[in-house]
């Protein structure tokens, strides 16, 4: 369990730029990228008032459960799923094997437009994802620098103010 997933500034900026473009093109309210363990990577659009951390966790849980359903039905995965509400809708799609793209939209857009724009943006996102993966060795080295210097005092002081 000691392995790490890391994202650097360049890839985060690249993801954010893709999402900003997608928000405009798909006429979406907000777009999020989260990883399959429930960590938020980027949030774009009208995100105020949304508990983004909780949203990331629930989206990952829901996606994992959907994957379980897919396997039960003999499918490897359901790469796209959709939740329709009275005012807001949520379009969920998998990017590669470990990121989840969430597009929230209302009556200003439509499912067809969102699907089309997400499809077009997929390759760009997958390219950034491959860049994230290719930097895993670099991430490991940098993590060495952070964790290698942690002292017992650092760890003890973590809890002083929180509890």
């Amino acid at each position: 369990m000691a392995s790490q997933m890391a994202i650097f500034e360049e890839e985060q900026t690249a993801f954010t730029q893709i999402c900003e473009r997608l928000v405009r093109d798909a006429l979406a309210k907000a777009i999020f990228i989260v990883d399959s363990d429930g960590q938020l990577i980027t949030a774009t659009g009208e995100t105020s008032g949304i508990d983004t951390t909780g949203l990331a966790s629930l989206a990952a849980g829901s996606t994992a459960a959907t994957g379980g359903l897919a396997q039960m039905l003999g499918e490897e995965e359901f790469p796209v799923h959709f939740h329709e509400g009275k005012r807001n809708n949520l379009h969920v799609s998998l990017i590669g094997d470990f990121l989840i793209l969430l597009v929230i939209f209302d009556e200003r857009s439509s499912l067809g437009l969102v699907r089309l724009r997400v499809k077009r943006a997929y390759n760009d996102m997958d390219t950034v994802l491959q860049a994230v993966k290719s930097r895993s060795a670099e991430a490991k080295d940098q993590a060495n620098d952070i964790f290698g210097e942690i002292t017992d005092d650092d760890i003890d002081s973590l809890f002083n103010d929180a509890f």
Binding site: M1, A2, S3, Q4, M5, A6, I7, F8, E9, Q12, T13, D35, S36, D37, G38, Q39, I41, D51, T53, G54, S57, L58, G61, A64, A65, G68, A139, Q142, A143, N144, I146, F147, G148, E149, I150, D154, I155, S157, L158, F159, N160, D161, A162, F163
Partner: protein
């Protein structure tokens, strides 16, 4: 699997509370929520049935001070304890950095504790983890109940070789003895483990 975001300069650790049904996993998380500085805690999400049983998971994000310039965030999850929720329990284990096993001290739950521990080991193995190699602590909860077994007996059932750190707790009490100690212990183990593997 810890997550490091260099752009945001933060480290996220996922900690999972595991244990038999109604042993107090959600109570632990709710106590941590109530005992944490409001600035340091996020929104508590609890997906429960009408019978107060966790259906999918509880989730509580906590923010700790920066360590070496990186904000430390804890994501606490509790899994559903009942046997029939095995599928969702397994999903929540994915990517966990550390596990807290909450045992129910009541004698009537002796068997349930043992079954849950076996189930945990199986679920960890499914993701390629070995319980002896991950940050793992045991909490003997409900120590205040008259039906509580002696700690020696619980240890014999769950920690016979005393390999894992253990804590006595009463998560439902107003001052929740043992609750924060258990959490601190597993966080410390995770960070020490990350340091050791470097």
């Amino acid at each position: 699997m810890s997550f490091i975001n260099y752009a945001q300069r933060e480290i996220i650790l996922k900690i999972v509370y595991y244990g038999p049904g109604l042993c107090g996993k959600t109570t632990n998380i709710k106590f941590i929520y109530s005992g944490t500085n409001p600035d340091a805690r996020g929104k508590l999400i609890s997906l429960e049935t009408k019978q107060e049983r966790t259906l999918f998971f509880d989730f509580l994000p906590l923010s700790l001070p920066a360590i070496r310039g990186f904000k430390t965030r804890l994501h606490l999850y509790s899994v559903p304890g009942q046997l029939f929720y095995s599928a969702s329990r397994k999903l929540i284990m994915k990517g966990a950095d550390g596990v807290i096993f909450v045992a129910d001290s009541q004698r009537a739950r002796k068997e349930a504790n043992i079954i849950s521990m076996e189930d945990l080991k199986e679920n960890l193995l499914a993701y390629g983890y070995d319980i002896d190699k991950i940050p793992f602590v045991i909490q003997y909860n409900k120590r205040d109940l008259p039906t509580a077994m002696p700690v020696d007996e619980l240890r014999e059932d769950l920690n016979a070789e005393s390999k894992y750190p253990e804590f006595e707790a009463c998560a439902v009490a107003p001052d929740g003895p043992g609750v924060f100690e258990t959490l601190k212990s597993v966080v410390k183990m995770i960070l020490m483990e990350l340091k050791k593997t470097k």
